[in-house]
Assembly symmetry: D2
Homo-oligomer: 352 residues x 4
């Protein structure tokens, strides 16, 4: 039984993992850590968890947190928390999975650039661990994740874009210049903290673009795609919020490389994702929407190139809180722990 | 392993049971029957089930349906279907659970009255089975359900009202005259068939009462409550639709009987539901909403009498598709099959 | 031209009046006052008003506010503001309409009781004006409003309940004991300030009751109905939030008085509201929902008594931000200014 | 007073025009024509219009329709209706505005291609009127519309894309190859007819792309942009549905032409739209969403080029039912009738 110390238990990312672990046959919670709600049961903060998780939340610096008998620590916390606490976890013999951007870049240079974009201290606080860290996109880095001590879980937008572009980029079917990621996300991506833009009366019946002058997720996307392309690749990224709670719909564009067609692109996607348990490849004749991945760890890509205009186009569908966050973390946890990768993750969601 | 023949597999009630059985350790699907989609996989009709349920739908009169190796047949079908097909199922040695009103009344007289209300043939087509049938509100009829061949699953509105009123009625804490059920339901209760009133632009931002001159669910409620009261009891029932997809919020009113107070009522609810795995009792100081039961088999009742005006008041929260339908059916299936009642039903839902 | 000084311009209640005045042929804004956004245009705070209202917001204590050339001051502000500022407005020769509870009770005793319920100072700060104030439910107090200096606009819940009960109470068609107001409101009723319960992911797919141990609106309802009944009358009031933005659906219950029937009740409603330009009376055979009053100053009541159980029942539909707030204020403004009561208020809303 | 015969009165496009005309000081309804609801009042079909429009619907072939004293006929009807009825309207001395694609192309060749795309008879039924028809994008064809007998109102998607691209295309700031229109629409764009994909439980929490192999609106966009560019221009068009009721968010991409920058593009937009009463130009520092245009005839474009990647990007916001349909029709009606273009159209919408 793999024992999990969950830090940041009370946010959407934390409770998402609590839900998944509840059904996992070979992993279980060893400690719930948070700065809010210390001393109360998680189910007092979230009544829907009554009977499912009535464990008490402990403070990060409590002995219960420090001495938790856990094999792995999951940081479901904002940027900055994991890098501050990682050393102690590793010292206590625990592996680490972090939801934030703290361990998504294995070089201090890249990290500094990222940190500046989100207006944080560019000096990473655990540089040695950073350099050993592995980017947790399981489908691309499975082998490295198996051996990793520290895994930086992908951003939800980045997950949807990278999986939606990888086969085309890897096989040179899309021109490296001019790639566009037009991404629409549900509101849960912004977390549980109320803000004017997520106030119910302001957000219903509203679709809007934001951070048009630059979003931090673009760096992960470019790093991964450049590696696959074997050459630097830049993307234009447009984050947009639509009145969904769960779900990301990313429409990905580029120019078809000479010789590339809908059918060669489709073939490349089918080939690369043939054995992936959580990725499905579709064509325009298969109707699909974000509701088809809501509540599950699946990612569905629809290959829909427009040969008339020479445009590469793929639509990527994902539940931002599962494959885009907690599900992906659990997938990594399974891989890091030597468990079957799909354990605890083969649920269909609930419809409607 | 209990083997289930599911009739009406492609409706919301059918796929709800498919989702639950997918996680059930000791029950499994033996056949998917429907009149729509015959010959195609269930996951073609419902792409979110890809990988979860790719079984092919068979026609009701096919040999695959007739000869299915199943222990129990669940009719997730509209009024009229189960009574027509029940005899053959029983002959084939299968027990029956029916979602519709076909087996909610164990007398032909009561059934005829019900049938007239919904403008159907008052002559039941399987009167012998009707007379043996048991009303499937597990919490009230557990022992009879254990021995039943045919169980009529409660209506979702009725479930929320009966559980919300039972302790008070049983103990004479509410006057038998003047009970009011003010019920608000999400749209999924109306099924998957499009209609003008459920067209997205017409239903968003709309709350409305309907069937103000009489709703068929009232009969189940009155029958069960009269039995508990030991005297005839009538209720006023107001069905209303609000822009939820899943969820029923029933606010139940009456006059406090002489001597009854918030605290004696609360005590009666706590006492009666103490050992019920799926019912929780709350007070006005515990904030709760339908989102706290969404996706789970839980029913939460908040006891909130208004002593100033002598008014009995309880608020009942339930997911109409789970405890109000498929979950309740599975709970009965467990009981009828000698399995632990909670098997496959202890899931928390997904939040947000 | 009637000139309006609007205090609290930037809240939902303020911009609602700005929208209405924009179309009013004989009234216009003279000053926009608020504590937020001082010095910027209202359309900077609310971009949808660009071109409609680009006037600059001024501070309450500025000379622009003090010396505004206005005939009437509308306080679209929370409890406490109007009573503090009223004297100065009256001194400057302006009449007053207040949205809050500050002037809904014309006695210091009643006000003190109200203030205690909402945990505010029970000592009113403008007692003399309080005693002269008129309750702004136009349909009931039209003549007094014509002559009033200070009008306390009704609460939105209260508006829907009082208009839904008045004819029955006045004519003794409902028993004075046991009246129940089961009210469901959209989220905009809580204003523009973000809070955890109104965070989009928490509020979508959620219906919940709140303040079950007592809501302040009940006092207005009881005062008005007692006056109509000619005897003390108490009501049980259940406020509930459903995922609407605009709209209140109030279902009102009681016991039919001896001799009262659906048809005598219906007749009384038709009679009392025959000449009311903003109230329509319906029966269960006319389908109606809150979307039929959204965006308009209409209030629709459906008379639907349940003779089988002897229950009086009326369903009241209103847009909480228009007839429940800004529209009602403008209706009073018209009456106080000697204008036609319907000026600027005959708009149908936008559908869908 | 301009008198309007409205054909297709009962659809969303029809009632949208009824709402606008209700407030118009110099235009009024002369006849309501539809094939549904003949003989009943429009307010029986749409109760929210009670008191606003209680006129009776007449059949297309009735004498009331034929002999209506009207100056202009608006066809708020699907493809095929206007071309069949246009000759009779013109003969009766009425000008024509059509919402459908029947008169968006002034050549039979282009029309045939369009008709084939939507699987209709490629033979136009009023070729002479077709050849005289004018494309009703007022901002681009104001002078021709003044003199037109027949105006084909733009499609809502096309409106948002053409206005969002026109200045850049006209001034050669975007490369003519590789233009992409990523469009998200609310559900009302599909009309009032229920369908499985617009059933409330299926559409809430769902974002999806559709018709990925070709949408008919692309032809209007390419025709208009090619004219502006002075050379053939092709676009890739991705229609997507998100859970809005009203609103289109179109994100438009291309490659910046040599020398073009965010600031030169912004300047071109400000210049071209400076005097347009209904178009506003914004930059990424002005937060804007579809809720800022909901209910109004405004179109807001945000210029947000990504110089880092050489990508032209503009986000276009419009209410599909107003500027995208009925509002735009009324704008043309004003122009065709010699009225001030903004009459009846300067309303701000309702917020929230």
């Amino acid at each position: 039984m793999v024992r999990v110390k969950l830090i940041g238990a009370g946010g959407y990312g934390g409770i998402g993992l609590v839900e998944l672990l509840h059904r996992h046959p070979e992993a279980e919670l060893a400690a719930l850590v948070d700065v809010q709600g210390v001393g109360s049961r998680l189910s007092e903060m979230w009544p829907y968890l009554e009977g499912t998780c009535d464990r008490v939340i402990v403070a990060p610096d409590s002995s219960e947190a420090r001495d938790a008998e856990a094999d792995i620590s999951v940081f479901a916390t904002p940027d900055g928390t994991a890098q501050a606490g990682a050393a102690a976890e590793v010292e206590a013999g625990r592996k680490i999975i972090d939801y934030s951007g703290d361990f998504r870049f294995d070089s201090t240079e890249l990290y500094s650039e990222y940190a500046r974009r989100i207006e944080r201290d560019p000096q990473h606080r655990a540089t040695k661990l950073l350099e050993q860290s592995v980017y947790g996109l399981t489908e691309l880095h499975r082998e490295a994740i198996k051996r990793a001590r520290v895994v930086g879980n992908p951003g939800c937008f980045a997950m949807s874009c990278i999986c939606g572009l990888a086969p085309a980029v890897k096989h040179g079917l899309v021109e490296p210049e001019g790639v566009i990621c037009d991404c629409k996300t549900g509101v849960s991506g912004a977390g549980k903290k109320p803000a004017p833009g997520f106030h119910y009366p302001e957000r219903y019946e509203n679709a809007s673009a934001y951070r048009l002058s630059g979003h931090q997720h673009v760096m992960e996307i470019e790093r991964e795609l450049s590696e696959l392309a074997g050459q630097p690749l830049r993307v234009t990224f447009t984050p947009q919020v639509v009145p969904l709670v769960r779900g990301i719909l990313s429409t990905l564009y580029g120019r078809l490389a000479p010789g590339a067609t809908q059918s060669t692109v489709l073939e490349a996607y089918r080939e690369m994702y043939r054995d992936e348990p959580f990725i499905a490849v579709k064509t325009p004749s298969d109707p699909v929407g974000t509701s088809d991945v809501r509540g599950s760890n699946r990612l569905v890509v629809t290959v829909a190139c427009d040969e008339r205009t020479g445009t590469f186009r793929v639509v990527s569908h994902v539940d931002n809180l599962i494959k885009g966050q907690a599900g992906s973390a659990l997938q990594n946890l399974n891989v890091m722990s030597g468990l079957a990768e799909t354990l605890g993750l083969q649920q269909p969601g609930a419809h409607p």
